[in-house]
């Protein structure tokens, strides 16, 4: 049985890095006495795959991983048992059955993600936020410099910003997040700030929160985004 688990990561635990968060869940699965399936060999490990790494310091309401179980269990029971053994700041908010096998795992499904960026007090850009965003988004192209193994490249990220709007004094984003077009919310925000202020943004001006991760059940031209929990087939 393969399940997709949705969790939130808030508060001090946001400073626990991606690999350590994975380790934390491996230990939690054991504490919850869930019948995890293991790989073979001398150092067997749980068959677990995370949808998308979350940066250190970033909070999230919608994180995902897939877990293979050796026995069938009701999803509600899995959710309850796992949530009870989580440390402060980590909560299991949903569990759903998904088809077995590697195909269609959480990571390969990721197409987009929502974020909320909150400015630290005194660090907000001057002006009406929604106007600034309109000006930014009115650009046909938004180039950033990406450094890869083969050198520096100019990449147009405008197509990857599916949505950007003001939510009170925060910015809401829906950004492309597949492996080929993964777009970082801090990159977009820094580019936005540089555009509206004409200066390099100050470090630590804002805090990022991921809200949800989506699969795309539509087409390249007409996206139909469904959260990874909704897009898991009910088995």
């Amino acid at each position: 049985m393969k399940v997709r688990i949705r969790f939130s990561k808030e508060g001090p635990v946001r400073f626990v890095g991606h690999l350590d968060t994975m380790r934390c869940f491996q230990k939690a699965v054991r504490r919850a006495k869930l019948p995890a399936a293991f790989s073979g060999g001398y150092s067997p490990h749980m068959i677990m795959s995370f949808a998308s790494p979350l940066g250190v310091g970033v909070e999230s309401e919608g994180e995902y991983f897939d877990l293979e179980l050796a026995e069938e269990l009701p999803v509600e029971e899995i959710k309850e048992r796992l949530d009870q053994v989580m440390p402060e700041g980590l909560h299991v908010t949903g569990v759903r059955c998904v088809p077995d096998g590697k195909k269609g795992n959480a990571m390969s499904l990721v197409a987009a993600a929502d974020y909320r960026v909150r400015f630290r007090s005194g660090k907000e850009p001057e002006g009406v936020l929604s106007d600034l965003i309109d000006r930014f988004m009115a650009q046909k192209q938004i180039f950033i410099t990406k450094t890869t193994k083969t050198g520096e490249h100019q990449v147009d990220i405008r197509p990857f910003i599916y949505e950007m709007r003001a939510e009170e004094d925060c910015i809401f984003y829906r950004l492309a997040s597949a492996s080929a077009n993964y777009t970082r919310p801090d990159t977009v925000t820094d580019t936005f700030l540089a555009f509206v202020t004409g200066r390099e943004p100050e470090p630590f001006s804002y805090r990022i929160r991921r809200l949800e991760i989506y699969a795309d059940q539509g087409t390249e031209e007409a996206h139909v985004f469904r959260s990874l929990l909704e897009s898991g087939e009910q088995v």
Binding site: P12, K27, Y42, S43, P87, E88
Partner: protein
């Protein structure tokens, strides 16, 4: 949700921010207003090292079982954070509450090794607690030290208000009760310290005075007041079945600690009596924990932590009599749940090889032998029972069982050591390599690899070698060169890899291990010059220490290059550690005569630990002797 002491911009700028946030599974949160005592438990090294220390985790769990005490943890901030805290004037805080240490009642510091002494000062300094105990006021925490280094606490005497000598289970309750009572009665810090001096195992350094002879040795060491005991008794859990504090829910770090596993302590003490080994002397008598209790505890701790590995802990696991039963239980119970079983400090014999082949991948693992000395003569001097025959037999069996990697640990600079003893290291490594090629080619797995590692011997208090002199730095280097060149002239030299530790740390460790109160200013000067994390090779700055010695006018050679006379008063003589000075002296002379002393089970050697009324001293109703 808890508020963090450090702002985001700092946490995002330092390496491994999760070291500083607390909130781990099984960390204890209490209402600070509902407790009488707030205790900060510190291991003065980085989080990953400190969280691997069994001692502080036992005390953490034990203290928190009291409703009137909240014990939290604190570790040394890594230099990156250290610099930012000083720059931003952020005081050091405890992980659980994230509140500053200065407001705590106690700051307990575990002293596991001498090279952490400057880190002790860092913790005090960052906390805003005066470094020198006499400068602390009524509102400052009481700074109490514990752990192996308290068997000679004198180099740190000026920085600590109290030391707890021995195992924590016995006297902390009395100490806490006394503290609460003193507060209720409106007593002062001094009132408390004076009374605490009478609690068994508690040493209050400010209540004692040392006088020195012209040659620099101690003339006298005595309490300042009549009601202060002249001898401090080491504390021992006599009955490990009932008084041992079992941890039920160990804290589970987010980041990978050095010991990222359940640690199951199976035994305290060691029956072997190796003459260089401080642990083997100060933790006497050897006490074995009940195997049924261990089975239950193992299960409970794995359940409560979710760790995927359990490690048995003791000074010599092979001497735990129920080891086969315990290990087989762990394999049967947990191996199909993909739990690794790790068995350090096993003597290599048929049983060990059988067990190891069950719990690890033979081809990826290596065997470890600790002959400690290269010749039988020198092994007799140090009372290391391991013979060449046993090592070669064990290695041979292992090679036939599929292993092809061997680690060998030795010490250089042991008392009476000659060039032949040093060369013996190379010869033993060669014989092991040759043993491998005795195995028929069809049964061998590639080439053999023999890894030889040497450290330099440091004489420690309460060992038979506490009278011994050490060598100069350059002499140590020369010894390592002799070993190296002898290894290079062996037939199988390509199969033998040699590594050794730098000697400068050894010399300093030697000074601090057997030092006295006059070293306090040296440690302070070294810290002020920037010495920190001295236990980390890449951060150790011997040049700073050399300057500190020069400026304070303290001669390090006095502590290292002198062979002590039989009647010299040692700085640690006021501690009753169980083993008597008479016994240690007898052993020192036996060593000179190259005579071995049988282990505690084979024959009692009247070391003095029998007075505690438990352990191996009383195990057999029908003694062998």
């Amino acid at each position: 949700m808890r508020e963090l002491a450090l702002p985001d911009e700092i946490l995002l700028s330092v390496d491994k921010a999760a070291r500083y946030i607390g909130g781990e599974v099984n960390a204890v949160i209490k209402d600070k207003d509902s407790v009488n005592i707030r205790f900060a438990m510190c291991f003065p090294d980085v989080y990953e090292i400190g969280m691997s220390n069994l001692g502080i985790m036992i005390l953490y769990d034990m203290f928190n079982q009291r409703d009137d005490v909240w014990c939290e943890r604190v570790f040394s901030p890594w230099p990156d954070l250290d610099a930012l805290m000083r720059k931003e004037h952020i005081p050091l805080f405890a992980l659980e509450s994230q509140e500053r240490l200065k407001d705590f009642d106690f700051l307990g510091i575990s002293l596991g090794y001498e090279m952490c002494y400057t880190n002790v000062l860092q913790v005090l300094d960052l906390s805003g607690i005066p470094l020198i105990s006499s400068e602390r006021g009524e509102d400052d925490p009481l700074v109490i030290g514990g752990g192996a280094c308290t068997y000679n606490p004198e180099p740190l005497a000026m920085f600590f208000d109290l030391f707890y000598i021995g195992e924590g289970e016995t006297s902390y309750d009395a100490l806490f009760d006394l503290y609460i009572e003193n507060q209720k009665n409106g007593g002062s810090r001094q009132d408390f310290l004076r009374k605490a001096a009478s609690v068994p195992g508690i040493y209050v350094p400010s209540l004692y005075e040392a006088a020195y002879k012209e040659d620099g040795t101690i003339a006298s060491f005595s309490p300042l007041y009549e009601d202060v005991p002249s001898v401090v008794e080491k504390q021992v859990v006599t009955d490990v079945r009932h008084e041992y504090h079992v941890i039920h829910r160990p804290v589970v770090p987010f980041i990978k600690a050095t010991q990222d596993r359940v640690t199951l302590e199976i035994m305290r003490g060691c029956i072997r009596g190796c003459r260089f080994c401080q642990a083997g002397m100060i933790y006497r008598p050897t006490r074995q924990r009940d195997v049924e209790e261990l089975k239950a505890t193992a299960k409970e701790m794995l359940d409560a932590t979710g760790h995927d590995e359990i490690s048995l802990s003791s000074l010599s696991s092979s001497d735990y009599e129920a080891l086969p039963e315990l290990v087989n239980f762990l394999i049967d119970e947990f191996q199909d749940q993909a739990v690794n079983i790790s068995l350090p400090s096993l003597r290599i014999d048929a049983f060990a090889l059988d067990v190891m082949s069950k719990v690890q991948d033979v081809r990826k693992s290596s065997l470890t032998f600790a002959p400690e000395a290269g010749s039988q003569r020198l092994r007799d001097v140090i009372n290391k029972g391991l013979t060449e025959e046993v090592i070669l037999k064990g290695a041979g069996e292992a090679f036939r069982g599929g292993w092809n990697r061997v680690k060998l640990y030795f010490m250089l600079g042991l008392p009476t050591e000659t060039e032949e003893d040093m060369k013996g290291i190379a010869h033993l490594a060669e014989k092991i390599a040759e043993e491998y090629y005795e195995v028929p080619k069809s049964e061998r797995h590639g080439k053999v690899q023999v890894n030889v590692s040497t450290s330099f011997f440091v004489p420690k208090p309460f060992t038979p070698f506490q009278w011994a002199k050490m060598c100069r730095e350059e002499d140590y280097t020369q010894k390592a060169r002799i070993v190296k060149s002898e290894i290079r002239s062996q037939l199988n030299q390509k199969s033998i890899h040699y590594s050794w530790h730098e000697p400068d740390v050894t010399v300093l460790e030697g000074v601090l291990a057997r030092g006295d109160r006059r070293l306090g200013p040296v440690i302070l000067a070294a810290y002020k010059k920037g010495a920190l994390f001295d236990a980390w090779t890449e951060m150790f700055r011997y040049d700073l220490w050399k300057e500190a010695f020069a400026e304070t006018g303290v001669d390090p050679d006095f502590y290292t290059l002198r062979e002590r006379t039989e009647d010299e008063i040692f700085p640690w003589d006021f501690i009753d550690a169980g083993v008597t000075k008479r016994f240690l002296l007898r052993e020192w002379k036996q060593a000179a005569e190259e005579k071995v002393t049988p282990n505690c089970r084979a024959k009692c050697s009247a070391c003095g630990a029998r007075k505690y009324g438990g352990g191996v001293c009383f195990e057999s109703t029908d003694p062998v002797f």
